[in-house]
C-alpha cells in the first residue's frame, strides 16, 4: 500500500503541528482586539487591559479546573455552588484579628477538595453519571452555603484577606497572577506528568486505560478533586475581591467555565484538549464581555451575543474537522 515506512520515525514538532488547531481562535482574538481598538480607542489603554485580565481571572481558574474533568470524559456542574460555599467558609474565618489570612484561604481550598472527593466517590464507586452526581453536589453545596451563612452575606473581612482580591503587584492584579500560576502548573501537570497522561488516557478510552494497568477510579477521583479545589480557590479569591462571602454568588459560573474550555478545543467526550486552549477560550469570553461593555451594548443583549458566540466557535471548530 501507500504507507512509506521511514527508517527513523521521529517526533513531529508538536507545537507546530497543534498550531492550526487553535489558529482560528487566535485569529478571532486578534480580529476582535483590532476592531475594538479602532472602534473604542479606550480599549487599548492600560487600565482597560488590566481590568480585562482581572475580569477573566475567576472564570479562568474555574475553566482550567473543569478542563481536568472534561479531559476524563466527565463534567462538573457544581463549580458555581462550590464558589459560593468556599467563599462563605473562607469569609467566616477571615474576620479582622481572627486568623492569619492563610487559614481562610486553605480552608476554602480544602472545602472545595472535600466536595470534589465526594463527587468523585459517587461517580466512581457509586457509578452515578457525572452529570447527575455533580448536579446533586451543585444543589447540596448551595444549600450548605446558605445554612452556614444563615442566608446573609458574611462581611467585615480583614484587610489582609481582601488584599488578595484588590491589590496589584507590578501593575498586575494579584488574582490574575493566581490564575496565571494555576494555568501554568496545570499545563505542566497535564503535559509533563505521568498522572496527567493518565487523565488523557482515561478520557480517550477508559477500557484501554484500565487494561494498561491504570487505576481509572483513582485518576477520576484526582480530576474531580483537583477541579473542585480550584473552584475552592476561585471562591476564596472572589470573596476577597467582593469583600464578602456571598451564599448567592457564582450562579452559572460552571457553565461559563465549561464554555471557555470547549471553545478552547477541549472535547466534551474526553481525551482531547488542554489548558492552552482553555486560556484562549476564557480570554475570548472576557474580551467579548469587555468589548460589549465598551460598545454600550445593554447587558440583556450581551447574553444573546455570548450564547451565539459559544455555539458559533464550537461549530466552526467542528466544521473545520470535517
Amino acid at each position: 500500500m501507500g504507507h512509506a515506512q521511514l527508517n527513523e520515525p521521529r517526533s513531529d514538532n508538536s507545537t507546530l503541528r497543534r498550531l492550526p488547531h487553535q489558529w482560528g481562535l487566535i485569529l478571532a482574538l486578534v480580529i476582535i482586539c483590532t476592531a475594538l481598538s479602532i472602534a473604542r480607542p479606550v480599549f487599548l489603554t492600560i487600565p482597560n487591559l488590566v481590568n480585562l485580565i482581572r475580569q477573566i481571572s475567576i472564570n479562568g481558574i474555574l475553566a482550567v479546573g473543569v478542563t481536568y474533568v472534561l479531559l476524563t470524559g466527565g463534567v462538573d456542574l457544581s463549580l458555581g455552588s462550590l464558589v459560593a460555599l468556599t467563599g462563605v467558609i473562607a469569609a467566616s474565618f477571615a474576620h479582622p484579628e481572627q486568623y492569619p489570612p492563610a487559614v481562610p484561604v486553605l480552608l476554602g481550598v480544602l472545602a472545595g477538595a472535600a466536595c470534589g472527593a465526594v463527587s468523585g466517590c459517587v461517580i466512581t464507586k457509586g457509578r452515578v453519571a457525572p452529570f447527575v452526581a455533580t448536579l446533586g453536589m451543585m444543589t447540596a453545596a448551595r444549600g450548605l452555603a446558605l445554612v452556614l451563612s444563615g442566608g446573609r452575606p458574611v462581611s467585615n473581612l480583614s484587610r489582609e484577606f481582601t488584599w488578595m482580591g484588590s491589590r496589584d503587584v507590578a501593575g498586575i492584579p494579584i488574582l490574575s497572577l493566581i490564575f496565571f500560576c494555576v494555568a501554568l502548573a496545570s499545563h505542566v501537570f497535564l503535559n509533563n506528568f505521568k498522572l496527567g497522561r493518565y487523565i488523557y488516557a482515561v478520557g480517550g478510552n477508559e477500557n484501554a486505560a484500565r487494561t494498561s494497568g491504570i487505576n481509572v477510579n483513582a485518576i477520576k477521583m484526582l480530576a474531580y478533586t483537583a477541579c473542585a479545589s480550584l473552584a475552592g480557590l476561585a471562591g476564596v479569591v472572589l470573596a476577597s475581591r467582593i469583600t464578602t462571602g456571598q451564599p448567592n454568588a457564582g450562579v452559572g459560573y460552571e457553565l461559563d467555565a465549561i464554555a471557555a474550555a470547549v471553545i478552547g478545543g477541549t472535547s466534551l467526550s474526553g481525551g482531547v484538549g488542554g489548558v492552552g486552549g482553555t486560556i484562549l477560550g476564557a480570554l475570548l469570553m472576557g474580551l467579548i464581555n469587555n468589548g460589549l461593555d465598551l460598545l454600550n451594548v445593554p447587558s440583556y443583549y450581551q447574553q444573546i451575543v455570548k450564547g451565539a458566540i459559544i455555539v458559533g466557535a464550537v461549530w466552526m471548530d467542528r466544521s473545520r474537522e470535517r
Binding site: M1, D12, G203, G204, A208, G213, S267
Partner: protein, 497 residues
Amino acid sequence: MESDLILQIRNLSKSFPGVKALDDVSLDVERGRVHAVTGENGAGKSTLMKVLIGVHAPASGQILFKGRSIRLRNPHDALRMGISMIHQELLPFRDLTVAENIWMGQEPTRWLPGWLDKPAMNRGARRLLERLGVRLSPVTKMRELGVAETQTVEIAKALACRAEVIIMDEPSSALSGREVEALFDVIRELKRRGVAVLYISHKMDEIFRVSDTITVLRDGCHVATMGTGEMDENRLIALMVGRPLDAAPPPAAVNRGDVVLEVRELTKAGAFRGVSFALRRGEILGLAGLLGAGRTSLVSAISGLTPAEAGEIRVGGRVARIRTPGDAIAHGIAIVSEDRKQYGLVPTMSVKHNITLASLAKCCRGWFLDKRAENRIAGEQIRAFSIKVPSLDRRVTFLSGGNQQKVVIAKALLADPAILLLDEPTRGIDIGAKAEIYAMMRRLARDGKAILMVSSEMAEVLSLSDRILVMREGRISAELSPENATQEEIMKWAMPS
C-alpha cells in the same frame, strides 16, 4: 444469460489524497450466486463496497444495475434500488425489538400517519426470519441476542428492503464454527431466492466453501476473477500477496522451560469452571474452542480485567493475587485483547503515547515524563515490530488494522512481561500482517516468553501452538498435541455434546 447479470461494475476508479484506492476495477455480479471479493487490507475491498452502497462517489467508471446505469448519492439510494450491506461491525438499536430493527426506516403504519402497525411488523418479521430458517421471536430485544443472531436480523432487514444484492463484509469475523455453518445455511437460502451475495473475506476456507466466483483485488487493482472450482488456496494467496507465501509455516522448535504460570481450579460463575493448566517458558499454548466457551473470560480473569471468583493463579510458583490489570502487569502478565478498539487502543492518542501507556515509568524521572526517553523508547518499539507509520505523533486511528494490532502488542511487550496472553491476535488483519505476527510470536517464544493464545482459526492454532487446549462450555475438554491433532479432532472436543 444476459438477464442473470444484476450488477455490472465498469472501470471504477477512486482516489483519496495520496492513495489510489481503486484503479479501473470491473466486476460482474450474477443473481443467485455468491461472489467472493478478497485481497489484503488496503487492497480496495472496502472502498469498492462503499462506492457500491453510495458512501463514496467514484472518480470515474460506471455501475450498471439490471443493465441501467445508476448514480448513488448516499446509502439510502442504494437501499431503495435493492443493494444492502451487512457491515462487519453490527450497529443494531439494542433497546428496540427484533421487529422494530427489521422495519427501521420503513415501518408499516395504520389508522394515522406515523402510527406504527405493530402486529403487522411482528408478523412480517416472523415471516422473514422463517424464510431464513431461523427461530427468533420478533418481540425479543436486540440486547438479548448474540452476534450471530444480530447478524441474521440484519440480513432479514436487508430482505425487508427487498434487497437483490447483499454485500457481506467479513461476516464470519465474530462467529464461532457452528454459527458460521448457520450463516452459510442462510446464504444458501438467499441464493435459492435469487439474491446475489458479495462476500468479502480474508478467510480461505470460507471463501472456498461458500463462493461460486472469486475476485482478487490488490493495491486497488483488479487482479483476477475466476470460478471457485478453478482456484486453489496457494494460487489465491499468491494472487493476493503478489508473491508466493509459505502457506503452512512449521511449528517452532520445542524447547520447554520451567512452568511460569499455573492456574488451578479457576472458576467464575457463568463463564468457566474448574480450569487448571500450566504454561511454560518458551511455549505457545493454543486455546481453541467455540465462541462463548469461556476462553475470553478465562484470559480476562488471568489478566485481572474481570477477576475469577475461586481458584488460584500461580506465577513463578507463588500464588498471585490478581484483582486488576495493574496487579497482572506487576506480576509480569500482559494481555492483548480480542477487541482492539475497546481494550487495546486509546483512539485520541498518538502511536507514541499508546505504545508507552502501560510502561510510563520507563519514560519518567520521578513523576516527570522524560519526553526524549519516551521518543527513543517508542521509536525502538516501532522499529522492533516494524510498525508502518510516518511519524511517532500520528494518531493511532490513522493506521491500518494490522499496524494497530502491532501497536497493541508493542505496548504489551514494552512492560517486559514473562507471560503474554494473546486473544485472537490476528482478527481482522490481512495475510501479510498475519505472517509478521506469527513470526513475531515465534521469536518471542524462542526468547523465553510464555504465550497463551486464544484463536478461533483452527489453522492458526494448529500451526503455531506447542500444545493445544480445547475449551467447551467453560471447561477444558482436551489437551492435544499439534503433531497429531486435526481440525476435526479439535472440533469434536469443542462442540457441546
